[in-house]
Structure formats: structure tokens, C-alpha cells
């Protein structure tokens, strides 16, 4: 069966956000959530039928709405999560909806904490709000999707105030979140006061069959240092991507203990973050064969530093995000707190601490990033509108995504397959030009370097408004906020000659493509149909 894919259209002036909105105080507290922990064995694909099981009734932080999901057969859960997220954003302008996020979390199919493959819907607001900042899922009536998506019943919890988690905190100041977020996708950052990283690289057992790469990350919130051992079981399968009940699993033991998990976690996807326990550590694996009994050992540490609590300016912090944008990943030393604001992540967010009180080791703060929102989620044509000769058309922005029938995408390319009835393309007479540009989470614009906070996945201005115009993509020399541009795409017929696109594997989504047309001075006629072609490998 062939995979199902689609183009999704965005506005070139779409807006992004970075916020620490909280019912307590900015960046303080955790989010409430609802987790669909009722899925059974083999639940890694979802059939949503129009007018049958395509709605959820949601109540976030006291505001109720009904969302209607995209329908389809055997939908990829990462797509379903993204679709739910966008629908929730659009459902209500309240912050709980506007900044809500939905994750697909790989677990297993045994009951117990963190042991279920499941969707998690997070409130867009931090803090407890007296226990009401939660996410409630109820019946929408006759089109109920709760059972399909594991929310019948869900596991739910309200957010928790910073003051509850850290009752002895001496920090009395206010936190401010600012910056222009240039992420392609939504993300969630946790900033912890510490001068050292918390999660060590994993060490494979010398006798392991697995010869790929394991990455570790997360913000460890345990009360004492802990050593985790992950043990692989290949009873059901030895490679990822083979579907639930056919993939390797891992269990977790730890010393001195407190965060073990004897129920198997399925390794469904390559390059996908898996929770190790419930205290924040995570891991991901590249594509390779696992051996039964392979083990990986990893140390997690509590926050470190001397002389704490410290004043703002002296206290330092590290960070990590849901998508893995972390100070560990870019090997950045801990960052000094600052009243004016300093780097969180690599795509533009900053955090500032007012100079009041002192910051203690292990205290943490949260930021919510929201990427651009689609304007058309199933785009079959791009209409550039009326374009006058010798002028540029408006810029069209799309990405390409797989929604079912495949679990991985690679070698993504883009080309102009046909220039239609235009007569002056590549004719050397004030030619018609087909402009192209790309950037995204797979191939970001590097900004000032790997450790900088100026990397770009979705180019925005100082207010978080998309900034790309046709003149940004009208030459082969790309501006600093795009990964690559082509002033005039040639007509090509093979992937070998097409333009390379990045691909964010965790979401099976291509990078963003920016397109515009400049009609040559001698061009005549109307309604020419040109054709763009996307090449991609999927499995």
C-alpha cells in the first residue's frame, strides 16, 4: 500500500510565539494535561472516519470546545498529534488553547505509569489555577473519537505551581520570556538552575549488537543522582519502524532507584525521543539492529554548582526542550541568568530574571514556543493570483508531510517539473523566473553558529511575524535566515537534479518551501499551469 501524503500551506507572514504564560507567574509552574492511556496493543495507527469518530470535546483550564479531526485510514500518530494541536489552537483564543500542545508518547501496551503508547494534550498555560488548569476530555456526542484515540478514559492532572514544587525557594522575582521564536514546530523548554548538565551520554555494553547511535537528553528532576540501565528485548522484533508488537522494546532498572520501569517501552520509530522513566530523562536511537539483551547505561545527576542559592547574574542555568533543542546537544556551558534576558534554545527565545531574591539549584522554569499555523492543511494547488509582468508574485509557503502508510521519510527533493505555457523561461529575454527558497527544522539557517540563538527554522521579524518576501528568494545567494535559495528553478525531470530539502524525521515532515514567480517582460497569456514536483523516499 502506498503511503498517503499531502502539502500543507502556511502564510509567509504567519506568526510565531514564545511565552511563559502562567496562572501563577510568568514561566512558573507546570502544565495540566490529559493523556490517552486507554490504547490497547498494536495502537500505532488510527482510523478516523468523517462524521463518525472525528470529534473530541475538550475543556482546557475551564473553557470548553469541540474539535473535529482530520479523517483518514491508518493515520500516523505523529500526524494525528499535530492535527489535534492545530485544531486546538484554532478552537479558542484563550491562552490554554492558543499555546496548547499535543505529543505522541511511545510507551508500551502494559498498564501502568508511562507504559502506554498515548497522546498527551497539554494545557497552553502553566500553573495550577487552584487545580483547574487541567485538560478534560468528554463526549462530543455522536462523533466521539475518545475510544479511537485512547481517551476513554484518559489520565488527567492539573498543572502544579512553582511555589508548590519549590516551597522553600528564595527567588521572589519575576521571570520574563521574550524573543522572536523561529521554530518550525511547537516546542516546550524547561530551564533549570544548574552549572552542569544533568543527563550523561549513554554507554553501550561492550557486547551489544546495536551499532547505531543513542542520544540522551531531558531535564532530570530526581532528588538524588541515579544510574539507569536500559535493557533491550527483541522478542517481537529487532528493528524499529516495523509497527507495534513487531519492534524492539526496552525496560529500565536504576540505582539507587525510584525511577525503574519493568514494563516494556516499544521502540516504534528511529530518531524519536522516548521517556526513560518519569523523572525527565529521555533517549533516542538511530536506525540499526538491536540484539536481545543489549544494554545501555546512563547517569543522571541532580543540579550542580557551588554557593547556591545565588543572585541573578551569578546563578546559571541549562535547558532542554521536547524536540531536543538543548544546551547539552550544542555543548554550551551553563548560561548566566540576566535581568535583560539570555538564551534559551537556538531559535530565538530568551529568559530574564528580575533582580529580586536568589535562585536555588534545581529550580526550573518553563517556556512554550508556538510555530506557524497552517492556513490550508490539504493543499492541492498553489494559486499565485494575478501577476503582472516584470513583477514578483506573492510568496507561497508549503511543507510536505506523510500522514499514513510509512514511518520514515528521507532524501527529500523539490523541483520545477513543468513551466506550463510560459514562453520566456530560460530564453534570455528578460526571463520569467521561478523563485525557490527553503529552511526548516531539518536544515535550519545557521545564524551565528551551532551554539548561537540565531538559528532559523521559520524566518520571522522582531515581532514573530513571517518575513520572507519574493526578493529574499530571487537569487542563488540565500539570506542568512534561509538555508538555500534558487533564483530561477530550471525544469528538471529527475530527483538527481532537484533541490535538496531538509526533513525533520521525528515528525515525517519536510522543511518549508518558499515559492514565487516573476513573469518576464515579454510574457503574454493567462492561467498557465506550472507543476512543481516533490521527490522523497519513504519506508
Amino acid at each position: 500500500m502506498v503511503a498517503t501524503s499531502r502539502f500543507v500551506e502556511f502564510s509567509s507572514t504567519g506568526q510565531t510565539f514564545i511565552t511563559g504564560v502562567s496562572t501563577e507567574s510568568e514561566a512558573k509552574g507546570t502544565r495540566g494535561y490529559s493523556r490517552g492511556t486507554s490504547l490497547g496493543a498494536g495502537s500505532d495507527k488510527f482510523t478516523v472516519t468523517l462524521n463518525s469518530n472525528d470529534q473530541l470535546a475538550i475543556n482546557i483550564n475551564g473553557t470548553a470546545e469541540v474539535i473535529t479531526l482530520a479523517s483518514g485510514t491508518d493515520l500516523d500518530p505523529r500526524f494525528v498529534a499535530r492535527d489535534m494541536e492545530y485544531k486546538i489552537h484554532s478552537a479558542n483564543s484563550a491562552d490554554g488553547y492558543k499555546y496548547a500542545q499535543v505529543d505522541w508518547r511511545n510507551g508500551g501496551y502494559a498498564a501502568g505509569t508511562n507504559n502506554r503508547n498515548s497522546f498527551i494534550i497539554w494545557s497552553g498555560v502553566l500553573g495550577a489555577n487552584g487545580g483547574t488548569n487541567d485538560v478534560g476530555i468528554s463526549s462530543p456526542g455522536g462523533r466521539d473519537a475518545r475510544t479511537t484515540l485512547g481517551f476513554n478514559p484518559p489520565t488527567e492532572a492539573a498543572g502544579i505551581d512553582f511555589a508548590t514544587t519549590f516551597p522553600a525557594s528564595s527567588y521572589t522575582g519575576a521571570v520574563s520570556v521574550s524573543g522572536s521564536f523561529s521554530g518550525q514546530f511547537d516546542d516546550f523548554y524547561t530551564v533549570m538552575i544548574s552549572e552542569g548538565e544533568l543527563v550523561e551520554d549513554a554507554t553501550p555494553n561492550g557486547g551489544n549488537t546495536y551499532n547505531g547511535t543513542i542520544d540522551t537528553g531531558g531535564i532530570y528532576t530526581g532528588a538524588a543522582d541515579n544510574t539507569y540501565t536500559l535493557t533491550i528485548d527483541t522478542t517481537n522484533g529487532s528493528v524499529m519502524g516495523a509497527g507495534s508488537q513487531n519492534v524492539p522494546t526496552f525496560t529500565v532498572t536504576d540505582t539507587p532507584g525510584g525511577d525503574d520501569n519493568s514494563n516494556p517501552i516499544e521502540l516504534l520509530y528511529t530518531d524519536h525521543w522516548y521517556d526513560i522513566g518519569v523523572l525527565g530523562t529521555r533517549c533516542k536511537f538511530t536506525d540499526a539492529v538491536f540484539g536481545n539483551g543489549d544494554t545501555f547505561t546512563m547517569n543522571a545527576f541532580t543540579a550542580s554548582g557551588t554557593g547556591y542559592p545565588k543572585a541573578v547574574g551569578d546563578a546559571k542555568y541549562i535547558w532542554d526542550s521536547t524536540r531536543g533543542d538543548s544546551s547539552k546537544q550544542i555543548q554550551l556551558n551553563a548560561v548566566n541568568t540576566d535581568v535583560g534576558g539570555t538564551q534559551v534554545g537556538t531559535v530565538g527565545a530568551t529568559i530574564g530574571f528580575s533582580d529580586s531574591g536568589t535562585l536555588g539549584l534545581g529550580e526550573y522554569f518553563n517556556l512554550i514556543g508556538r510555530g506557524p499555523q497552517p492556513i490550508n492543511s490539504d493543499t492541492t494547488q498553489l494559486n499565485f493570483g494575478n501577476v503582472t509582468v516584470s513583477t514578483n508574485s506573492p510568496v507561497k509557503v508549503v511543507w510536505f508531510e506523510l500522514i499514513s502508510g510509512a514511518v520514515a521519510m528521507s532524501t527529500v527533493k523539490f523541483s520545477l517539473q513543468a513551466d506550463g505555457s510560459f514562453q520566456h523561461h530560460d530564453q534570455g529575454d528578460n526571463d520569467t523566473e521561478f523563485h525557490f527558497g527553503t529552511v526548516g527544522a531539518g536544515s535550519s539557517a545557521p545564524g551565528a553558529g551551532i551554539q548561537s540563538n540565531s538559528q532559523v527554522e521559520f524566518p520571522v521579524d522582531g515581532d514573530g511575524i513571517g518575513r520572507i518576501t519574493a526578493t529574499d528568494i530571487d537569487s542563488d545567494s540565500s539570506p542568512s535566515y534561509l538555508f538555500a535559495t534558487k533564483g530561477n528553478l530550471a525544469v528538471v525531470n529527475s530527483a538527481d537534479n532537484a533541490e535538496v530539502l531538509g526533513n525533520y524525521q521525528g515528525a515525517v515532515v519536510s522543511d518549508l518551501v518558499y515559492l514565487a514567480i516573476k513573469l518576464g517582460a515579454n510574457e503574454t497569456g493567462a492561467n498557465s499551469t506550472i507543476n512543481y514536483r516533490m521527490f522523497f523516499d519513504f519506508s
Binding site: 492541492t380 506550472i530 521527490f535
Partner: protein, 117 residues
């Protein structure tokens, strides 16, 4: 006519798996992630019209790969197609994936090696 085990494969092109018990599942039956008991796969076959390429008795088969394309037009409609299909296995000693890739238009097969990173 192409027979795999006791089943005639009428699907013109695509992958076929044969299990140790002789049963078969092919690409037109279901998506790869829906195929059950993959550890019991004895043989993996790629069919192109009246030609087949076969890999047998490997311990770790790869997820079948497809190279495809989708069009998006200004003023028209989208269209998709397939450039090539591949089956293969992991070679643990060489730390790579060994693929047999068949061109969708010509039916020509070529071997490919993909490193494990």
C-alpha cells in the same frame, strides 16, 4: 504467472513476504507496519511484472523502501507516482543495509549499500 508459496501474486509490482509456515502477504494487502509476526518472515520478494528478486533466510530485513514523487501545481491538481522500490536486509558484520532497488519504469535492479550511522 508468479507464485510465491501457494499463492499466485496478481499484484503487478511491490513487495511480498513469505513466512516460515508458507503463508504470504503482499504490498497490496496492507501497509508494512500492519504486517504481523515479522520475525517469522522467511523470504522477502520484490515483484516487477513477471520478474522477481528474492532475499531468503536473513535475520533482519529492512523496512521496504519506496522512492516516490508528488506534484503540486499552480492551477492544476496533485498527482503522485513511484520511481523505485527496494527490499533488503541489515548486514551486521559490514554494519550496513544491503538493498535491491528496482526502477519502476524499466524494471532494472541495482544493488545499493546504505551505511548504518
Amino acid at each position: 504467472m508468479i507464485w510465491i508459496g501457494e499463492r499466485e501474486i496478481t499484484m503487478p509490482r511491490g513487495w511480498v513476504v513469505q513466512f516460515h509456515d508458507g503463508s504470504t502477504i503482499c504490498e497490496e494487502d496492507m501497509s508494512w507496519i500492519s504486517v504481523p509476526n515479522k520475525k517469522q518472515i522467511k523470504r522477502m520478494v520484490l515483484k516487477w511484472e513477471d520478474r522477481i528478486w528474492s532475499i531468503e533466510n536473513k535475520e533482519h530485513y529492512i523496512v521496504p523502501q519506496t522512492r516516490g514523487f508528488v506534484d503540486i501545481s499552480a492551477g492544476g491538481v496533485s498527482y503522485g507516482g513511484i520511481d523505485s522500490r527496494a527490499i533488503g536486509y541489515y548486514d551486521l558484520e559490514a554494519n550496513c543495509k544491503v538493498l535491491m532497488r528496482v526502477d519502476e519504469a524499466t524494471g532494472k535492479m541495482k544493488h545499493e549499500i546504505q551505511d548504518v550511522k
